[in-house]
């Protein structure tokens, strides 16, 4: 296949005398002709000034050299003849594309220019195929990466198609499942006080596709979490730990933003897979049954956390509430977490980056630099704390 010398090359010759599948020949490029020798030594030379060269053969990777000199069918050289072999034009087929360079070296200016154009066309199509191959490989690699990472983009896309109404009904189903095994503090004394805490936040949020519902659950864990579609659960441990109503407001503002950012559904979907989101898309809410426990252990990403922090702080500002207590509460949790080595639930399910409390503190300082007119929540916090403490120990 490869040239035995600089100018000797193997090829196939098709002419009137050759076998139908072509005769094997050796080709040497002379000053003004191709010296073509059959295996039986019969010569079949072709003058260089009468040849045309193009790409052909399998995948158009071989050189096709046609001899136009006898020219019995010069008028229409490409005319297909379905009846059988066409002996008219002699044709050489050379598998080694490097023969093009050998030929160029011996060619006159006119032929050399044509060969150069041929080489360019090949490079162009090579480039196109390489580009197409690269594009395909990139798509496959990205798709693999996407699947390995739990398909965040796909779930994101699918989620953007899930209507908030379905998200809400999913959230209701999940919260019902969760609350079923818990002691819920839903007596009017608690909910009335709680609504004074929540109302400014929901009001400041403005129009939202979600209807927020807050549930207080007896638990020593210092935590609060959001479920899809506006369901927010506040544990009594957090109420007990917070020094003021404003601290709790900070946490709730943060949770509200998780709902608005659809973080719960997103991390949930990435955890349990695309099937659930697709189920939601098809309106099959039952798909979520039994998955509440998974949701409870869902983790948010750091990006989602800092987004909810920043947006939560902004929500506090819009509601006319101080950001400072939110920062103070986070700092308190962090200090307790590192100090006592006790895994606080809030920090565990809301992973803290080192600078998280500091970032909220910065937002608080910004607010303090241009102090707004702060509103008072008008909640007697110690009284509310003891009310919650009593209710969670005695039950409804």
């Amino acid at each position: 296949m490869a040239p035995t010398t600089e100018t000797d090359c193997r090829g196939l010759l098709f002419d009137g005398e050759s076998a139908p599948t072509g005769d094997a020949v050796s080709i040497i490029v002379d000053a003004d002709s191709l010296v073509v020798t059959r295996n039986d030594s019969r010569p079949a030379d072709i003058r260089l000034d009468s040849i045309t060269v193009e790409w052909g053969g399998i995948d158009r990777t071989q050189l096709v050299i046609r001899d136009r000199s006898p020219a019995p069918s010069r008028s229409e050289p490409e005319e297909p003849d379905a009846a059988g072999p066409q002996p008219a034009a002699r044709m050489l087929l050379i598998a080694d594309p490097r023969f093009l360079d050998t030929l160029s070296a011996a060619a006159g200016p006119e032929l050399a220019a044509r060969l150069d154009a041929l080489r360019q066309s090949r490079r162009g199509s090579d480039r196109r195929w390489r580009a197409a191959g690269l594009a395909l490989a990139t798509v496959i690699a990205l798709a693999t990466l996407e699947l390995l990472r739990g398909a965040p983009l796909l779930t994101g896309l699918a989620m953007s198609l899930v209507p908030p109404a379905w998200e809400s009904s999913a959230g209701k189903l999940l919260v019902r499942q969760f609350l079923a095994g818990q002691r819920v503090l839903d007596d009017p004394a608690v909910t009335k006080e709680l609504s004074r805490l929540i109302a400014p936040l929901v009001e400041a949020l403005g129009p939202s596709p979600y209807r927020f519902e807050f549930h207080v659950v007896a638990s020593d864990d210092i935590n609060a979490f959001a479920l899809p579609g506006g369901q927010v659960v506040l544990l009594t441990g957090l109420v007990k730990t917070a020094a003021s109503a404003e601290e709790v407001a900070g946490v709730l503002a943060h949770e509200i933003q998780h709902v608005v950012g659809r973080h719960t559904l997103r991390s949930f979907a990435q955890r349990v897979g695309l099937s659930v989101v697709l189920g939601l898309l098809l309106g099959d809410v039952q798909e979520l049954a039994g998955l509440a426990s998974i949701l409870m252990t869902s983790r948010y990403s750091r990006t989602q956390e800092s987004w909810a922090d920043a947006e939560g702080a902004r929500l506090l500002v819009r509601a006319g509430l101080p950001v400072e207590p939110m920062a103070a509460f986070f700092e308190k949790l962090q200090a307790r977490d590192s100090g006592a080595g006790q895994a606080l639930e809030f920090l565990a399910s809301h992973p803290a980056s080192a600078g998280r409390a500091a970032a909220v503190r910065k937002l608080a300082l910004q607010q303090n630099a241009r102090p707004p007119k702060l509103r008072s929540l008008g909640i007697d916090w110690p009284r509310f704390q003891s009310l919650v403490a009593t209710r969670s120990s005695t039950g409804p």
Binding site: L12, T21, G57, D59, E79, P85, A95
Partner: protein, 227 residues
């Protein structure tokens, strides 16, 4: 290496006669019987990477068997798995062939069998996958088939249309494209000849008279699905 095809037809057998010191390579597991002078070695043709490429890209065997007549002249009997004729081709260094991806049966050591990437469109639509085998070099090449083998001889610029699943081997001097069988997409699908290979000469195209995939579907209806 002398090649003789015995019982040509559905249950063909190839007899390879080897001189002392001569060797042949065959698809792994193809050896049926041999002289005691012959040794069988498994060999990674083209190195581990070449073999891996062959295995995973074409489904062709990872190992080639090398059959070497170490202790004097000898003969080896070779048979393919599927019932069908064996195609015997002589390569002279100028004629080269492409084979469908699991078509290789045996060859002289001088024949180089490589995996060849098809263009994207051909890979998607030819039914042969993205890869075919290309045999170059000199010596004998044996190719297996399903059914009998029919040879199409195409003159320069002569065209012929072949159903993908009937392809066995074709000259490297031919050009081919994947096209719809008929003008409309609906009739392409409805006629059962969705996409076909459109060959243009010069060169040979060897086709098998039966379609292995279609035969598989046909026989499946007789296999009880539950016990």
């Amino acid at each position: 290496m002398q090649v003789e095809i015995l019982y040509q037809g559905a249950f063909a057998l190839a007899k390879l006669a080897l001189e002392q010191g001569e060797s042949a390579k065959a698809e792994s597991g193809a050896m049926v019987a041999m002289s005691p002078t012959v040794d069988v070695e498994s060999r990674l043709d083209g190195g581990v990477f070449g073999a891996l490429k062959r295995k995973f890209l074409t489904g062709e065997t990872f190992f080639f068997q090398t059959l070497r007549a170490t202790r004097g002249p000898g003969e080896v009997l070779i048979a393919p798995t599927v019932p069908g004729e064996i195609l015997s081709l002589e390569l002279d260094g100028a004629h080269a062939y492409c084979l469908q991806k699991d078509g290789f049966l045996a060859s002289s050591v001088g024949v180089d069998v490589q995996t060849k990437t098809q263009s994207l469109a051909k890979g998607f639509f030819s039914g042969e996958g993205f890869f075919v085998l290309q045999a170059t070099g000199t010596g004998s090449l044996l190719v297996n088939s399903f059914g009998s083998i029919h040879r199409l001889l195409l003159g320069p610029a002569q065209e012929y249309i072949v159903d993908n699943s009937h392809l066995v081997a074709w000259s490297s001097s031919t050009e081919y494209e994947i096209r719809k069988a008929s003008s409309g997409w609906f009739s392409s699908v409805a006629s059962g000849e969705g996409l076909v290979c459109h060959f243009q000469g010069p060169g040979e195209v060897f086709i098998q008279t039966r379609n292995p995939g279609a035969f598989g579907s046909w026989i499946r209806q007789f296999i009880p699905t539950s016990g």
